[in-house]
């Protein structure tokens, strides 16, 4: 690893797995402060550690304390509670702009950061980044934190001619996905301290030196992945994870297909509905007494068409992309599992070799084997932590997604209902109007 244990968190290197604490669990060890932006909370650190005052940003920390107890309880129930109370790094992606140069045309996005963390020199940053830069960040994170699950990016390549890379909808959808990507990283207790993230958020020019870095990394990762070691026995929990991911992926695919089918059916329905509305309109000219109700019905049908169009747009812009993102997430997760398997396999192989040698010439356990063990145990712990986090994020995301889908549908029906109800009121008023003028 090119980066040491992130500052501020317990190193998981020297301890047996059973004693490794969840990064967010109650601190028996000194935690260096991550300053709270929560405002008026007065709780001090439970272990009495004074708040550090090493950076200008932390002046405000005198007034903001870290609230451990309440937040931790909330955390167990719902990790998202943490983000509203104790989050100290806020990242947003917005304001897409097109850039035309001699070589190419591309889009950049504004990445705004607000933070009180000491790792950042300023409390606020604003930079412009393009997709390539996000990709760079992701690769850097994957390389530097191989034991962690890195959130996925929206798809890199789009078929020119099939999708318009510069259309409003495409850009909007991509921007939302990039925003989510950064937010997930910013919320991650380990990844958010990664210096590459820092550079990404703060540097005026990302000095990527991508080519060079990539070469060295390729060397290592090839060694790492294509180790060729065979795994003896995968611990049950990781098996379960793998199985879950496979089934979950399947279900995601099915839901995606169903959603697309619905969109298609709705679009065909919309075509017929429009035609239907025009038949009423064309009848209007023939009648006199029936003019108003016919016009009214035609109008309602048109309103319903508009509402249906909106529903379809919402589903394709908000619903489908999130589903697809999770498919990518699952891919990522499976990769990490594979790497973990490799790490375990390597350790087991080396251990076996070392034991054989030990039996022969009584040398102590080589450092290499210990390092491997550390790596594996670290991996396992990180993975488990990330898995829990991923599961609860997934729960929130899908709760939001499906609730959103229900809301959009409800909204659609409400619009239609309102249109038809106002027609009835109109026609009934006319009726009473006519009747009273008759009797007069």
């Amino acid at each position: 690893m090119s980066v040491g244990t992130p500052r501020g968190l317990a190193s998981s290197g020297q301890k047996p797995i059973a004693e490794i604490l969840h990064p967010l669990s109650a601190a028996a060890e000194p935690l260096s402060v991550t300053v709270n932006l929560g405002g008026d909370k007065e709780a001090g650190l439970t272990n009495g550690t004074p708040v550090e005052t090493s950076s200008p940003a932390s002046t405000s920390s005198l007034f903001n304390r870290l609230q451990l107890d309440d937040d931790l309880e909330a955390d167990v129930r719902d990790p998202y509670a943490e983000t509203t109370e104790t989050r100290d790094l806020f990242v947003t992606v917005s304001d897409p702009k097109k850039h035309v140069s001699t070589m190419e045309t591309y889009i950049t996005y504004r990445v705004s950061t607000k933070t009180t963390r000491v790792e950042f020199d300023l409390p606020e940053y604003c930079v412009r980044r393009r997709y390539q830069d996000f990709d760079w960040l992701r690769i850097k994170l994957e390389d530097s934190q191989p034991t962690h699950l890195i959130p996925p990016l929206p798809e890199k390549f789009v078929m020119k001619g099939v999708v318009d890379r510069f259309s409003e909808e495409f850009v909007e959808t991509r921007m939302k996905a990039l925003d989510k990507f950064l937010k997930r990283i910013a919320d991650h207790p380990v990844l958010s301290f990664n210096p590459h993230l820092n550079s990404f958020l703060t540097a005026k020019d990302l000095n990527k030196r991508q080519g060079l870095a990539l070469l060295t990394k390729v060397g290592e990762s090839v060694k790492y992945v294509a180790g060729g070691y065979k795994l003896r026995a995968r611990p049950a929990e990781f098996c379960a994870m793998g199985e879950y991911l496979d089934t979950f992926n399947q279900k995601l695919g099915t839901i995606d297909r169903i959603a697309q089918r619905i969109l298609k059916e709705q679009s065909e329905y919309l075509t017929e509905l429009r035609e239907y509305g025009t038949v009423y309109s064309s009848w209007v000219g023939l009648e006199d007494e029936l003019r108003r109700p016919l016009e009214g019905v035609a109008g309602c049908v048109t309103t319903c068409c508009g509402a249906l169009e909106d529903l379809g747009e919402n589903m394709s812009q908000d619903f489908l992309p999130v589903l697809r993102e999770y498919v990518l997430y699952v891919e990522s997760m499976k990769n990490v599992l594979r790497k973990r398997d490799q790490s375990q396999a390597e350790y087991e192989a080396r251990l076996e070799a070392a034991i054989l040698r030990k039996q022969e010439d009584r040398t102590p356990m080589p450092l290499e084997v210990e390092k491997c063990q550390d790596k594996m145990e670290c991996f396992n712990a990180d993975l488990k932590a990330d898995w829990e986090r991923w599961q609860s994020n997934k729960r929130q995301d899908f709760k939001q997604l499906l609730t959103g889908m229900a809301d959009k549908n409800i909204n659609h029906y409400e619009k239609c209902q309102a249109a038809w109800e106002s027609l009835i009121t109109l026609l009934q008023d006319k009726q009473t109007e006519d009747k009273s003028s008759e009797t007069n």
Partner: protein, 435 residues
């Protein structure tokens, strides 16, 4: 529809009676005084439908449906007594026979139509099978509607054959045939020829005919479009049912999310199933439109009859004129217009005086006959125009009222559908929130 429930018979009939009475003061015996149309005196309904088997005209076994017509004297009903209704069974072909009789016997009346013989404008899920219970049920309603419309018509309701139809099960067919109505029917060719060759048809009737064409076109377009929409909507709802299955499968691998997903899946299933009832109800709206699609035909038939009577009048007048001319020629010897006789006279010389006298006498007889014919035809034509105009006005009023009601009912149905949709999705949403 004419009347929906038996209790509403009296109320709705009021209006049609008023209009008939107001517009028909000039007519003689056809419009009875206010309040005595059949439907006021007799409660009529088509209560049931049953399958029967029997031998048909070519001695082959067939299955058909019969409908039970029940009648009760209205005063018994209003007095609160509840006598058992008189009843008899009729099949669709007998209704057709009744209607054909009415069409021929009252060519100045826009005769109410029957429900369709075969299911048309069917969208894919709906059965096109005549034996399908839903189709039979809708047909039962349509037949009842037909009877009520006829029985509340100021003219048609007094017809004896109609009375027979409602009260005498056996031997009715013979009685109908005995009226000889089939002989009175106008031949198609004559009618068509009249349409092309008539010179001065009443403008109002031509406008009505044009209107009937348009009405037919719009209603059939609407029915087709509606069927296509129904088909698509069915697809949309049913695909949502797939969510039910996948949520159920997914819930099996989840811990906290499982229950919420599972229940939401059930609601998706319910949503998918709800479309069946929604579309079945919409068929009633389609039936209302169909009634007027067929009514348009009846309206056109009245206009065509006018063309025919007018044409026959023109022909008779023309014939009379030409005979008078011939007479004049023979009598005075002056040939005004070219005639074959004149030509042959010039070529071969005039005929003998005896023959001329005979011819003149014959012509005078023919002229007398011709004048009678013209008088007859004039009366026929004028009567038709007067009566038909009244009935067409009556038709227009109930068309406006009925179609307006149908459109409002359609809006009500749409609202109900929206409410159901909101309910289902809200239920699902609650489950999602519990995930």
């Amino acid at each position: 529809m004419a009347e929906d429930g038996r209790d509403e018979l009296v109320a709705t009939d009021d209006e049609s009676d008023h209009t008939a009475a107001d517009g028909s003061s000039s007519l003689n015996n056809t419009v009875v005084e206010e309040g005595s149309t059949l439907v006021r005196r007799m409660e009529i309904c088509v209560a049931e439908a049953e399958k029967r088997s029997g031998k048909n005209a070519v001695n082959m076994q067939e299955t058909f449906t019969v409908y039970l017509i029940e009648t009760r004297p209205m005063d018994a009903v209003t007095e609160g007594r509840n006598p058992a209704p008189d009843s008899l069974w009729r099949r669709y072909s007998e209704f057709e026979l009744l209607r054909n009789y009415l069409l021929v016997t009252y060519p100045y009346i826009v005769v109410p139509p029957l429900p369709e013989k075969r299911a048309e404008f069917v969208w894919h899920k709906l059965s096109a099978d005549n034996m399908d219970p839903d189709f039979v049920e809708r047909r039962r309603i349509g037949l009842e509607n037909f009877l009520l419309r006829v029985a509340s018509h100021p003219v048609l309701s007094n017809d004896k054959i109609l009375h027979h139809f409602l009260t005498e099960e056996h031997g009715w067919k013979e009685v109908v045939y005995e009226t000889g109505f089939q002989a009175k029917a106008d031949s198609r060719i004559r009618a068509l020829s009249a349409t092309f060759r008539v010179r001065n048809p009443d403008k109002r009737f031509m406008e009505m005919k044009h209107y009937s064409d348009q009405l037919q076109s719009h209603t059939s377009q609407l029915l087709r479009a509606r069927a296509r929409v129904a088909d698509r909507l069915y697809g949309v709802y049913k695909v949502h049912g797939n969510y039910g299955r996948v949520f159920s499968e997914w819930s099996a691998i989840e811990k906290e999310m499982g229950d919420g997903l599972q229940s939401a899946g059930h609601h998706m299933d319910a949503y998918a199933a709800s479309i069946d009832d929604i579309l079945e109800e919409e068929e009633h709206y389609a039936d209302q439109l169909k009634e007027y699609l067929f009514y348009a035909e009846a309206l056109r038939a009245v206009c065509r009859k006018h063309e025919l009577t007018q044409f026959e009048l023109e022909m008779a007048s023309q014939d009379l004129i030409s005979k008078k001319q011939q007479h004049e020629e023979l009598a005075t010897g002056i040939v005004r217009t070219f005639s074959f006789k004149g030509m042959t006279n010039k070529l071969f010389g005039q005929e003998a005086p005896v023959q001329r006298e005979a011819r003149i006498k014959l012509l005078e007889e023919l002229i007398a006959e011709g004048e009678d014919t013209v008088k007859e035809k004039t009366v026929e034509c004028e009567e038709h125009v007067e009566r038909a105009w009244v009935d067409m006005q009556r038709f227009k009023e109930h068309k406006d009222k009925d179609l307006r009601e149908a459109l409002i009912n359609y809006a009500v149905m749409q609202i109900s559908m929206c409410k159901k949709g909101i309910q289902m999705w809200s239920n699902a949403k609650e489950c999602f929130l519990k995930m």
